[in-house]
Amino acid sequence: MAILADRNTRVLVQGITGKSGILQTRSLIDYGTIVTAGVTPGKAGTTVEGVPVFNSAAEALERVEANAAISFVPPLFAKDAAMEAMEAGIKLIVLTMEGIPNHDVLDILAYASGRGVRVLGPGTAGIISPGKCKLGAHPARMYREGKVGVVSKSGALSYEVSKTLTDAGIGQSTVVALGGGPIWGTTQLDVIKLFNEDPETEAIVLLGEIGGGTETAAAEYIAGHVTKPVVSLIVGRAAPEGRSLGHAGAIIRGRAGTAESKMKALEEAGALVATTPARVVELIRKLG
């Protein structure tokens, strides 16, 4: 099974004829992801890496099957593209771009919530279910098929920890990056719920960072509902107080958002707490 993306995923690439669109489409196809269509207005009839390009998502879905969209559309056009995909019937949208105006993100999420659409991102590295489907930036070589589910706000941190796991011979069921912006469509909690219900996932790695309260919300859920072992790594212990370090979410808001408070909440919820990727591997190993 894996979560969110698997062998049944059929991908529509929005903004497929741009530089990132072409490069990433190549990388998805190389991995074995089934890309059925691309969309760039005005480019219907062309192909990118063998994938047919359509003028609109609606047009694409009349001709091919797709159940997920990944968007490389420039930030100011991202909202229109996302709504187009949702209206055409897509139920999973991966927004890779950073820099989408926040009000546009709010609009996208409102539109999505009314239509039962899951939005990942914006600014996300996406999803990889090793050996099954790659729907995002994850560098293929750093992953191998297995039973550990990984969720992270940061893409790079998810690569880093997955690479360490893979190097140690520990595979992943699915690795999900949520995106670095101040607003997210899918939260840590959402993904942890999915991992908890996924029969192929046996342990969960939660990668968090300072700022905000989503890891604490996840901790509350873990304490009450999660039956699988959870290993966590919260970064930003050495970050200066009250300074924004990239992710707008990573601003310390009172004591609640410090690395310490999150590690404490997770520990109390029964999660194992690591401070380095190597330690994450050790803790996973100890689980058996």
């Binding site: 990132s20 490069l23 990433q24 990388s27 930030p75 100011l76 890779t96 950073e98 820099g99 105006p101 926040n102 009000h103 993100v105 709010l106 409102a110 590295a125 995002g136 930036a137 994850h138 560098p139 750093m142 706000k153 940061s154 893409g155 790079a156 941190l157 998810s158 690569y159 880093e160 690479k163 670095g180 912006g181 607003i183 997210w184 939260t187 990668l207 960072e209 300072i210 905000g212 309260g213 989503t214 919300a217 970064v235 930003g236 212990r237 050495a238 970050a239 200066p240 300074r243 924004s244 370090l245 990239g246 992710h247 979410g249 990573a250 009172g254 401070t275 380095t276 990727p277 190597a278």
Partner: protein, 374 residues
């Protein structure tokens, strides 16, 4: 882009939200000064009242004295370069009203309190029940029943005037791509509701579609501070720190992890410089330039790269051309892996620069080099 109070009030005025009559002055000689009035430091940080940045004056002499004294201040590191001199308001009641968004819930959020004029963060911490947080649908915005809920919570009687004001605040929030519109205090006077302060922040992501607004407001800010209007900085986040290990990463998560590991290994980072997940040789080059310009005395530079959307060949190109163009004499510790890793390693090797695979080893070496350099 954070706006000064007077800039926010100009937007309020344009939107039809009542503000006191006021003038901007930049010296105590200004003919604009009047009395009785309120003389207020124009700074982007908060808490100026407690720090003495606001004075109530009754005579023109007092106004001059206050202007002199406030213009000599530095508030949270920010030198005061301009003052807003406003008519006093006959305050009957003070409220707090803001609209922003709740990133974790993904919705706009109204916040209101009858404890206006106070330190709202203290209110939030000590008596959270005194703040009403009301989520809003971005398109439906402020429906009548939400306005009734806000008015009831605040105990406002003139619901019609309040509804009008809330709708205007919402319209401003949406049309100006604001991430925060805060009025603290919003005051009830004998002649109705007046916004006595303004705190507005505009979404930098919206700069391309609000070019005129950004140009105007940044030019105003530059005229006051004397600084050149900031260019759109792209995706680079740069935060200067106190140590001597320079740090650049292509992700905030790995950047923070590296920061933690540097400290764990006994070093201290000189900065936090994060390029975002989709960068280019030019951004890599600019990031190195940023660190070296701001921190010329660092002892080593740790570059932590793990490419997903970004390409390692491009990162290597950026690094090697920076090294080619500048004399880099300190140890460069580059951890590089991910998309186009082989190509990147070849470029680094051709330039005679070492490459690391393992993050812990890279951090350890960067910290060691910084120790050696001392």
């Amino acid at each position: 882009m954070k706006l000064y109070e007077f800039q926010g009030k100009a937007l309020f005025k344009e939107a039809g939200i009542p503000v006191p009559r006021g003038v901007i002055v930049t010296s105590s000689d200004s003919s604009g000064l009047f009395a009785p009035s309120v003389v207020k430091a124009q700074v982007l940080s908060g808490g100026r009242g407690k720090a003495g940045g606001v004075a109530l004056v009754s005579t023109i002499e007092e106004a001059r004295e206050a202007a002199d004294s406030i213009l000599a201040m530095e508030l949270k590191g920010e030198p005061v370069k301009a003052l807003l001199v406003e008519e006093k308001a006959d305050i009957i009641r003070e409220f707090y009203l803001a609209v922003t968004f709740d990133g974790e819930a993904g919705t706009p959020l109204f916040m209101a309190s009858a404890e206006g004029g106070m330190d709202i963060e203290a209110v939030a911490e000590k008596t959270p029940e005194k703040i009403l947080k009301l989520p809003a649908d971005p398109l439906w915005g402020v429906t009548d029943y939400k306005i009734r809920a806000l008015a009831d919570f605040l105990g406002i009687e003139d619901k019609r005037a309040f509804a009008d004001l809330v709708r205007k605040v919402w319209k401003l929030f949406r049309e100006k791509d604001a991430v925060l519109v805060e009025i603290n205090p919003l005051v009830l006077t004998g002649s109705g509701l007046v916004a006595l302060d303004s705190k507005i922040e505009i979404d930098d992501n919206a700069r391309p579609r609000l070019k005129a607004l950004f140009d105007e407001k940044l030019a105003e800010q530059a005229a006051i501070t004397g600084a050149v209007p900031e260019e759109d900085s792209g995706t680079i986040t740069y935060v200067p720190l106190e140590g001597d290990v320079g740090l650049i990463s292509d992700g905030a998560g790995t950047g923070m992890l590296s920061l933690d590991l540097i400290r764990d290994m006994g070093g201290e980072a000189a900065d936090f410089c994060e390029m975002g997940g989709l960068t280019s040789p030019e951004v890599m080059y600019a990031a190195m330039d940023r660190v070296f310009s701001d921190k010329p005395r660092i002892k080593s530079l740790l570059v932590v790269l793990i490419g997903g959307f970004n390409r390692m060949d491009e990162m290597a190109e950026g690094i090697t051309s920076y090294v080619r163009d500048h004399k880099v004499s300190i140890p460069l510790v580059v951890r590089l892996c991910g998309t186009m890793e082989e190509e990147g390693k070849v470029i680094m090797k051709e330039a005679g620069l070492p490459v690391y695979d393992d993050l812990l080893t890279a951090v350890a070496d960067a910290v060691r080099h910084s120790g050696e350099g001392r």
